[in-house]
C-alpha cells in the first residue's frame, strides 16, 4: 500500500462503520491482476479495485462478477457512457501528453506530433503489459490514417515503451524524454507537491482517451456484503475527496469540492466509448501489427 496513497485513509474511514477489517493485496496493474486471477481463480478475493474500462470485457470473460446497483450519486456527465452493470467507476482522468515547458514543441494532434517532434521524444507504456499502454493504442487506433503508417511514425518519436506507467514516467521525470503519455492529473502532483508549473498538458483537438478506474465484486467473494458496502463507500463525498487528494485522480461525482489546484487543470475534450468494442474485438490483431511495426 502506497504510504502517500489513499488506501490507508480509505481503510480507516470505512472500518469505523463496518465492523470488519480491510486488507489490501497489491496485484500489480490491472493486466497483471487479471492474469493472476486466471492463474488461480479460487483465490479469495472480495473486491477488485483499479479495473480499466478497456480491460473490462476481458475481465468479464475470465471472471464472473456480482451485479451491483447503479451508483445513486450525481455522476459527471462525461462518464455516463462508461457506466456498466457490474462495474462501478470511482475515479478517472483524461490521458495524454505531459511535457515540461520549453523542451518540446506543443502540438494539438498526433499528426503534428509526428511532424514536429524530434526523434525519441516520447515515453510510452507497453500495451501488452500495462493498461495505460492500451489507452494510447486505442487513441492512435482512432486516428484517420492507417494504423500501420501511424506505428511507423510513432517508432521515430518514441524513446521507449516501458513495462509499466512508473518506469515510463520515471524516464520522463529523470529528463530522459521530453514528453510522456500519462494522466492529466499527473500535473496535480507536480503543481502541488513540487510547486513546479513547468509541467503542462498538450490538448488535442480530436479529444483524449480517458482512464476510468472501476470497482467490482467477483462471484467468488466471501464477504460480499462488506465488499458491496465498500463500493458504495467509495462513492461517498468523503471517499471521493480522499481519492482526489491522494490518488491524483478526478472524482466521478460532480458535487465534490476539490482543492484549488484542480481548478487550474485544462478542460479537455473526452473521447467516448464509441469504437471501444471494435478496438477490444480487434485488440490481438492490433497488438500484432504493433509488434511487427516495431521490428
Amino acid at each position: 500500500m502506497d504510504p502517500y496513497g489513499p488506501g490507508l485513509e480509505l481503510k480507516q474511514e470505512f472500518e469505523k462503520n463496518c465492523d470488519c477489517t480491510v486488507e489490501y493485496v497489491d496485484a500489480g496493474g490491472a493486466k497483471m491482476a487479471m492474469e493472476r486471477m486466471k492463474l488461480d481463480p479460487t483465490r479469495r478475493v472480495d473486491l477488485i479495485l483499479g479495473l480499466d474500462h478497456i480491460l473490462l470485457s476481458s475481465f468479464a470473460q475470465t471472471i464472473k462478477f456480482q451485479q451491483l446497483s447503479a451508483p445513486d450519486v450525481p455522476l459527471r456527465e462525461e462518464l455516463r457512457p462508461f457506466i456498466y452493470p457490474r462495474f462501478i467507476p470511482y475515479d478517472w482522468s483524461p490521458m495524454g501528453f505531459v511535457y515540461r515547458k520549453g523542451e518540446v514543441p506543443v502540438v494539438s494532434s498526433w499528426q503534428e506530433a509526428f511532424e514536429q517532434w524530434p526523434d525519441r521524444t516520447l515515453s510510452l507504456q507497453d500495451p501488452e503489459l500495462s493498461a495505460p499502454g492500451l489507452e494510447w493504442l486505442y487513441w492512435l487506433y482512432l486516428q484517420p490514417k492507417e494504423l500501420t503508417k501511424n506505428f511507423v511514425q510513432l517508432n521515430r518519436i518514441a524513446h521507449s515503451v516501458s513495462p509499466s506507467w512508473s518506469a515510463s514516467y520515471g524516464f520522463f521525470r529523470k529528463g530522459q524524454v521530453q514528453a510522456a503519455f500519462t494522466y492529466l492529473t499527473s500535473l496535480i502532483y507536480h503543481w502541488s507537491e513540487e510547486k513546479n508549473e513547468a509541467y503542462q498538458f498538450m490538448q488535442f483537438k480530436e479529444g483524449h482517451p480517458v482512464q476510468i478506474e472501476y470497482a467490482a465484486v467477483p462471484d467468488s467473494c466471501w464477504n460480499c456484503g462488506s465488499a458491496k458496502k465498500f463500493v458504495s463507500f467509495l462513492l461517498t463525498e468523503k471517499a471521493q475527496k480522499i481519492l482526489a487528494a491522494k490518488n491524483y485522480m478526478l472524482p466521478v461525482r460532480n458535487d465534490v469540492q476539490l482543492p484549488e489546484v484542480y481548478t487550474k487543470l485544462p478542460n479537455v475534450k473526452i473521447l467516448g466509448p464509441g469504437r471501444l468494442d471494435e478496438f477490444v474485438g480487434r485488440q490481438d490483431e492490433i497488438l500484432d501489427l504493433w509488434r511487427k511495426a516495431r521490428r
Binding site: D2, P3, E23, A27, R36, L129, G170
Partner: protein, 472 residues
C-alpha cells in the same frame, strides 16, 4: 559492427514469422556483444586494479567496482542513459542493453581477472618487470596465457546476459528483447502460461548445452600474495573508478529530497522498523538457505550428477518461479515470517546456479583431494565433513551466503508477485516508484542495500570466527 548489425537484420527478416526463433537469435547476439564488451572493459578494470597493492584499500575499491552489478536495474539504466545523453547519444534497443550489461558486469569481470592474473602469473610478471619487460607487451602476453580462463568468463557473462530480464524490459525495446522478456510477456501480458513454461524449459536446456563445453565454472580465486602495482595502469584505474562513481552517484541523485520525503511521512516512519525487519529476515533466510545448500553439497561431495546439473543449470525464469509460488502458496493466509521464507526459497532458486559457478564449486573442488585421502584412510563421510572439509569451507561458504543476502536485499520483482503487500524495504521502494515518489524510492532502496551489506558483513564475521576456531 556493421557486419553484425546487418547480420542481425538478415536473420530478423528471414525468421520474422517465427517470433521465438527470432527472439532466441536476438538474445544470443545481444549476449555475445554483452559478454565481449564486458570482457574488454573488464580487462581495463583489471589492469587498473593491479595498480593498487593487495590491501584493505584494494578491497574497498573492488566493492566500489562491484556495486553496479547489485544496484537495482532501474537506477543503473537511468544513470547510464543520463551519462550518454550528456554525450548526445540516445540509447535504446539492443545497444542500450549491451551498454548497461557492460557497465554492470565490467567490475565483476575485472575483479575476477585480477585474481586470475595474480594467482596464475603473479610471480612471472613480478620477475618480468624486474627484468625490464614493457607493461603493454606483458599485458598482451598475460591475456594470451589466460585465454582459456577468459573464454570461461565470456561464457558465464553470456549466460547472465542471456537470462537478463530487468534491463531489456526497461530499455531493450523490440530489438533488445530477450527470451526472459518474451516469457514475461507470455505469462503476464498474454496469459499464455504453458507456452511460457515450455520456453523457460527450452532456455534452461539451451544454456545447459554450454556445460558440455565448460569443464569448470568461474576461474579459481587466487590466494597468492604478489606485488604487481608497477604492472598496473593508473589511467585504467581512473577510468574504471570514474565509471563506477558516475553510476553510483547518478543513482543517488535526489537522495536528499527523498530522505526528507521519507522522514516527513508518518506512515513510512511508523512502518520502517517492520520493513527493516522484513528485509533483514529475507536476507538472512536467503543466506542461511544458500549456506545450508552449500553444506549439503559438501557432505555429498564428490557427486558427479549434482555437479553436472548445478554447473549446467540456469535458473528458471524469475517470473515463472514467482507465478508458480503464487499459485501454490496463498500469502494472504500466512504471517509475514512464513511468507518471507517462501520468497527466500524462490529467490535462492534464481541465484543458486550463479553462486555455485562463481565460488561454490571452486571451494568443493579444492577439498576433493583431501576427501579422497581421508576416505582411503577409512574416515566416514560424517567424519570427513565435520573434521576436515567444513572447517576449511566455512569462511568461503559464509562469503557466498553473504553475497546472496546482498543480492536479496534489492529483490522486489519476485516478492511483489508472490506477496501482494509491502513487507520489505525493496517492495516499498517499488510501490513508491509507482506513485511519483522516485526520490523517496531511491532513498528506501539505499536503505535496503545497507541491510544487505549488514547481513553480508555479519556472515563475513561468522566466516572469520568459524575459520579461526577450526584452527584452534
Amino acid at each position: 559492427m556493421k557486419f553484425w548489425i546487418s547480420g542481425e537484420r538478415l536473420v530478423a527478416n528471414y525468421f520474422m514469422n517465427n517470433e521465438i526463433v527470432r527472439i532466441v537469435l536476438q538474445t544470443s547476439i545481444q549476449s555475445v556483444w554483452s559478454a565481449s564488451s564486458s570482457i574488454l572493459f573488464g580487462l581495463v578494470c583489471a589492469w587498473g586494479l593491479l595498480k593498487i597493492p593487495q590491501s584493505r584499500l584494494r578491497g574497498g575499491v573492488q566493492i566500489l567496482l562491484l556495486l553496479p552489478s547489485v544496484l537495482p536495474a532501474l537506477y543503473i539504466v537511468t544513470a547510464s542513459l543520463e551519462v550518454f545523453s550528456h554525450l548526445q547519444w540516445g540509447l535504446y534497443g539492443l545497444w542500450a542493453v549491451v551498454v548497461v550489461h557492460t557497465l554492470m558486469n565490467m567490475g565483476l569481470v575485472g575483479v575476477s581477472i585480477v585474481q586470475l592474473i595474480e594467482g596464475k602469473m603473479g610471480g612471472m610478471i613480478e620477475l618480468a618487470l624486474v627484468e625490464g619487460a614493457s607493461r603493454w607487451i606483458l599485458f598482451k602476453t598475460t591475456i594470451a596465457y589466460l585465454k582459456h580462463e577468459i573464454v570461461l568468463i565470456f561464457f558465464y557473462v553470456f549466460a547472465i546476459s542471456f537470462v537478463s530480464l530487468s534491463v531489456p524490459l526497461l530499455v531493450g525495446g523490440d530489438s533488445g528483447a530477450t527470451v526472459e522478456v518474451y516469457i514475461y510477456r507470455l505469462a503476464l501480458g498474454r496469459g499464455q502460461f504453458s507456452e511460457a513454461i515450455l520456453l523457460s524449459i527450452g532456455q534452461i536446456f539451451f544454456l545447459a548445452l554450454f556445460s558440455f563445453f565448460l569443464q569448470r565454472p568461474w576461474p579459481r580465486r587466487s590466494r597468492a600474495v604478489v606485488s604487481l602495482h608497477n604492472f598496473g595502469s593508473a589511467i585504467c584505474l581512473g577510468f574504471s573508478l570514474l565509471i563506477s562513481a558516475i553510476l553510483i552517484f547518478s543513482s543517488l541523485s535526489g537522495f536528499g529530497l527523498g530522505l526528507s520525503q521519507v522522514l516527513e511521512n508518518q506512515v513510512i516512519m511508523a512502518r520502517l522498523p517492520e520493513l527493516l525487519v522484513g528485509s533483514f529476515t529475507e536476507c538472512m533466510t536467503v543466506s542461511l538457505l544458500v549456506f545450508g545448500l552449500l553444506n549439503v553439497y559438501l557432505f555429498l561431495w564428490p557427486h558427479a550428477i549434482l555437479h553436472r546439473v548445478s554447473l549446467g543449470l540456469s535458473a528458471p525464469s524469475t517470473v515463472l518461479i514467482a507465478l508458480g509460488l503464487y499459485a501454490i502458496f496463498d500469502s494472504q493466509n500466512h504471517n509475514d515470517l512464513i511468507v518471507l521464507a517462501v520468497v527466500a526459497i524462490g529467490f535462492t532458486l534464481t541465484v543458486w546456479p550463479t553462486l555455485y559457478r562463481l565460488r561454490g564449486y571452486e571451494v568443493l573442488r579444492r577439498l576433493e583431494d583431501q576427501m579422497a585421502q581421508a576416505q582411503i584412510l577409512g574416515a566416514t563421510r560424517r567424519q570427513i565433513f565435520l573434521d576436515i572439509t567444513l572447517p576449511q569451507a566455512w569462511s568461503d561458504f559464509a562469503f557466498v551466503a553473504g553475497v546472496a543476502a546482498f543480492w536479496a536485499s534489492g529483490d522486489f520483482a519476485l516478492s511483489t508477485i508472490i506477496v501482494g503487500r509491502d513487507i520489505t524495504l525493496a517492495m516499498l521502494a517499488q510501490t513508491l516508484v509507482g506513485g511519483y515518489r522516485i526520490e523517496a524510492a531511491a532513498t528506501v532502496t539505499w536503505l535496503a542495500l545497507v541491510v544487505g551489506i549488514f547481513v553480508f558483513l555479519l556472515f563475513q564475521g561468522v566466516g572469520r570466527v568459524g575459520y579461526k576456531k577450526s584452527y584452534t
